[in-house]
Assembly symmetry: none
DNA sequence: TTTGCATGTCACAGAATCGTCATAATCGCA
DNA sequence: TGCGATTATGACGATTCTGTGACATGCAAA
């Protein structure tokens, strides 16, 4: 699962409280105290959901929300608004801004968690798009669990190896350049050499030995998982 | 592929660095040091993407961006902003101006390249317009995959051979001179003899043996892929 | 702290690929 | 038909790319 939630709130007490509850529920979290900064975070980190305080220094929550919905990169991220009593609830509820739900302070953490769960469920990608279990001959890969089996035998992969395998498998038949792989598996900000990919490909091949050949080297281009 | 990128930056060092990296990745490039001039260039040359420095002499990056987005001819060109640390990142991130992404200096060239690739991917024309699988009798060529089949049989081509075949096939029926082929397949910077093309044509003919005859030699001119 | 694992980097060897050249074959035209 | 120009071919050395093992670092568990 491992959803990431960005919390934007200027009151440090509330911020930490919310963060603490989210993390103890197993969510990954990001914080921001500033309306402007949080947009930046939203774009680069692509959280699965945003918990947004209405009253913020600088750019207020309404603005943040509107801006996000206008920007293609962030338009799909659901937003839960936090408001103090008496704030302009009506406009939020009107959802002119694209907020998906809202809570009036003071709220109970449990309620927040429930709302989050509900909103996430609503925004869950439909089953056929969701990464289900991937298969390749006798090998099964479970994206949600970081588990790989060949036949009955469990295969122990590191996170990097797993992500590498997953990306190749999800793009079966298509060549991925080393840079593309660095981008997708290691992330944008990684500043390493393309050679690193080779090493991990090697380790991956060793571990999925029976199918080592099915990771094809496309010389001068990159790697590709063999179709069927 | 062969996308054109306009880089607008007043610092010549950074400008040349960026240009160099872009070209070595195979992009065509245009430069501009001036906010006003670059608008003109953007309109006439229709680049596929703009890398725009925030701080510019004359008209600054924000203005350029806003102006571009107002003008129908340039509104669809994605923009990646470059900013020095501490500059008004917030307004950019607010995307009031329509920037599609941004980078804070100092940035790594690799990261810029990755962002460019990501933004271009987002703005990619829909699939039905993109060059799909090419066919010639029993032969299929998948441009994105570097894959060639004759019937069911996969054909192993090197990247150079593949690009050569692709260029000929995409221009079926038209003669290409050796110089044209050198430019398109080997790249402008290649400094070699035209005879090199002959050798690769030969290797290509061998590998696609059943259709060897379909690569016609046009004496004194170049080569041509026979119209079905 | 020590230990073990995951990771990224490096250097080197082997293999694939490339460009060039010499020579043979072919073509177009007088 | 014969000649010069052009192209095809095969070989070879040079270059580039990948696979591999070894190693340094960092992190986290013990």
């Amino acid at each position: 699962m491992d959803r990431t939630i960005l919390v934007v709130e200027d009151d440090p007490d509330i911020l930490n409280l919310v963060i603490w509850h989210l993390e103890s529920e197993g969510y990954r979290t990001l914080k921001s105290k500033d309306g402007r900064k949080c947009l930046e975070t939203a774009i680069h980190e692509k959280p699965d959901l945003l918990v947004l305080d209405l009253m913020l220094p600088g750019m207020d929550g309404l603005e943040v929300c509107k801006t996000m919905k206008r920007n293609q990169a962030t338009a799909d991220i659901p937003v839960i608004m936090l408001t103090a009593k008496g704030e302009e609830v009506d406009r939020i509820v009107g959802f002119e801004l694209g907020a998906d739900d809202y809570l009036v302070k003071p709220f109970s953490p449990r309620e927040l968690l429930l709302r989050i769960r509900a909103v996430l469920r609503r925004h869950e990608p439909p089953a056929q798009q969701r990464p289900g279990v991937l298969r390749h001959r006798e090998m099964t890969v479970e994206p949600e669990n970081y588990k790989v089996h060949i036949g009955r035998e469990p295969i122990r992969l590191t996170v990097t190896e797993f992500n590498l395998l997953l990306d190749l498998l999800q793009n079966k038949g298509r060549v991925r350049s080393r840079d593309q792989l660095l981008d997708r598996v290691w992330g944008y900000q990684f500043e390493g050499y393309a050679r690193t990919v080779d090493t991990h490909i090697r380790r991956l091949r060793q571990k999925i030995a029976p199918y080592a050949e099915d990771i094809e080297t496309v010389r001068g281009v990159g790697y590709r998982f063999k179709e069927t």
